[in-house]
């Protein structure tokens, strides 16, 4: 399979501020992402995972190294890399339907078939009956479904997800995780998913990247061959979880860190 994303030698340093030393957010990161893969980048706060995503999204620029999307260097944000933000980032002054129309206009994909596509996408995400509602009147889970619907409508080949379920309660989170897996199996979009939850990474991804901070580097790159639908209570799942937590715990300076999360 051809690589959709090719990152090599990627380095980002945030300059010294207020007398503090400069922060090496990313140091010589190499990462290849195949078309249609589902990759989760996980690690503790400050490991550079969000910086990595922001460079791929085109919101931030690296200090060194290259970031190629389909063999072309990233030069700014664009609808080929649709982003789902933790803060939803829906436009509160637009109804659900207007948010969808705006997304398709912005992406230059608003044509005669667009209304039908919007309806089908909103129906798929269970939001069609709420099309006249403003985001303010939607629950957190519905808001994030709309944010995903928006990216589906513009048909981004790559979906960037920055801890998208981080602000949701555990039950809503579990439902959306299951929905996302179904969606990925249907569409086979390439997903780059950022999370700080080991359970989330293992439940969702085909491949898990583990990063540690100071400097931000990749310490583990592992394919997850658990069969789907995945069961988070199996011994195999727990073995993988232990393996990953062992990789992270030295960086947290907490000896014998175990399952710190009760998600799902």
């Amino acid at each position: 399979m051809p690589a959709i994303l090719d990152i090599s030698g990627l380095t980002k340093v945030f300059p010294a501020r207020h007398g503090r030393a400069p922060v090496h957010a990313l140091k010589h990161i190499n990462l290849m992402l195949d078309e249609g893969d589902f990759i989760a980048v996980m690690g503790p706060s400050g490991c550079g995972k969000s910086t990595l995503l922001n460079i791929v999204a085109g919101f931030d620029r690296q200090d060194d190294g290259t970031c190629l999307v389909r063999d072309r260097p990233v030069s700014g944000p664009g609808p080929d890399r649709g982003m789902v933000f933790q803060e939803y980032a829906l436009f509160p002054w637009m109804t659900v339907e207007r948010n969808m129309i705006f997304a398709m206009r912005a992406a230059g994909k608003y044509n005669a078939e667009a209304p039908a596509r919007i309806q089908a996408t909103l129906e798929r995400m269970g939001l069609w009956q709420f099309r006249q509602s403003y985001p303010k009147h939607l629950s957190g889970g519905m808001r994030q479904r709309l944010a995903i619907a928006r990216i589906l409508a513009i048909d981004s080949p790559m979906m960037l997800m920055d801890e998208p379920f981080g602000a949701l309660d555990a039950l809503t989170r579990a439902v959306l995780q299951a929905n996302l897996v179904e969606l990925w199996q249907e569409t086979r979009k390439t997903v780059l998913f950022i999370t700080h939850s080991v359970d989330e990474a293992l439940f969702l991804a085909e491949r898990v990247i583990v990063m540690t901070p100071r400097p931000g580097t990749i310490v583990l790159d592992r394919r997850i061959d658990l069969k789907r639908p995945r069961d988070v209570t199996t011994p195999e799942f727990n073995d993988l979880k232990r393996e990953i937590l062992t990789m992270i715990s030295p960086s947290l300076h907490v000896p014998g860190l175990h399952a710190d999360e009760s998600v799902i």
């Binding site: 085109g58 944000p77 664009g78 609808p79 705006f102 912005a106 403003y134 303010k136």
Partner: protein
């Protein structure tokens, strides 16, 4: 009487019983106060003038004011004056709003424009608009234009500052999301920047509308041989205190009505900010 309140998920929930008497009292008392107090003031005023406590020549009774307005309404003078004044108000306010929004946007969006115009704008806005009256007559002569000029000067700065503040406050997450979806140019400007700044712009418009009424009358008192302000000035010259006070209160009433209208329009445009009942 309100028995139940709607909550966000659409279910209804009984209001706590102990809140009922207070809420019920408010529901009756508030409209009574809203209408009752002004009516009571008018009645007291009328009685005071008729009883001779207030001399009618210095402060005419409400009945005399209503009679004056009724007469001017029948003669058509009131309609002519009102339309003439509104014409200047609308022109002045429109030009002030367009210039204020345009410059406020430009200064908020481009740092160079902000640097180039910032000091000038802040010095000019600190000059009371009324002090320009001499130059407005010198430059434009008598007629509509000096009054429109005054209104523009008074409204452009509140519009500019509120637009500037509104754009500066746009959350960067909306700009990121819009650019990520591919938005740029006019679509980004209209659907994101302008839409996000709209609450602040409408606040500026409300301030500007009030100033526009004041400056319209000031302009007419001095430089325009027509309109409500001109009639007010002539009434003063001929010692027609009935007409003077009647037109003063009429101007206040027009100002209030236009503010209500704008509030209703804002309410509709900003319905996305409100709860489910909105």
């Amino acid at each position: 009487m309100v028995e139940q309140v709607r909550v966000l998920d659409g279910h209804t929930m009984a209001e706590p019983a102990r809140q009922k008497p207070a809420a019920a009292a408010g529901a009756i008392l508030v409209p009574v106060l809203r209408i009752g107090v002004p009516v009571a003031l008018l009645v007291l005023w009328e009685i005071a003038v008729r009883a001779g406590i207030i001399p009618a020549r210095f402060f005419p009774a409400p009945s005399a004011l209503f009679a004056e307005i009724w007469a001017d309404l029948l003669s058509g003078k009131l309609v002519v004056d009102t339309l003439s004044s509104l014409n200047r108000l609308v022109w002045g306010l429109s030009i002030g709003v367009v210039l204020g929004v345009a410059f406020g946007m430009a200064m908020a969006l481009w740092r160079q424009v902000d640097a180039a115009l910032g000091v000038t704008v802040h010095v000019l806005r600190a000059i009371p608009p009324i002090t320009w009256i001499g130059f407005s007559i010198l430059w434009f002569g008598l007629g509509n234009r000096p009054a429109i000029f005054l209104i523009v000067l008074g409204t452009v700065f509140p519009m500019l500052l509120n637009t500037y503040a509104g754009v500066k406050q746009v959350d960067v997450i909306y700009l990121r999301a819009a650019r990520n979806l591919g938005a740029h140019g006019f679509l980004l400007f209209r659907d994101v920047v302008l839409a996000a700044a709209l609450p602040s712009i409408l606040t500026g418009l409300r301030v500007s509308l009030g100033l526009a009424w004041i400056l319209m009358v000031v302009g007419e008192l001095i430089a325009v041989p027509a309109g409500l302000g001109d009639t007010l000035m002539r009434a003063q010259d001929y010692d027609q205190t009935d007409r003077m006070l009647a037109y003063m209160i009429l101007i206040g009433f027009y100002g209030y009505l236009s503010d209500l209208l704008l509030a209703a329009v804002s309410h509709r445009l900003l319905r996305w900010q409100r709860g489910i009942e909105g």
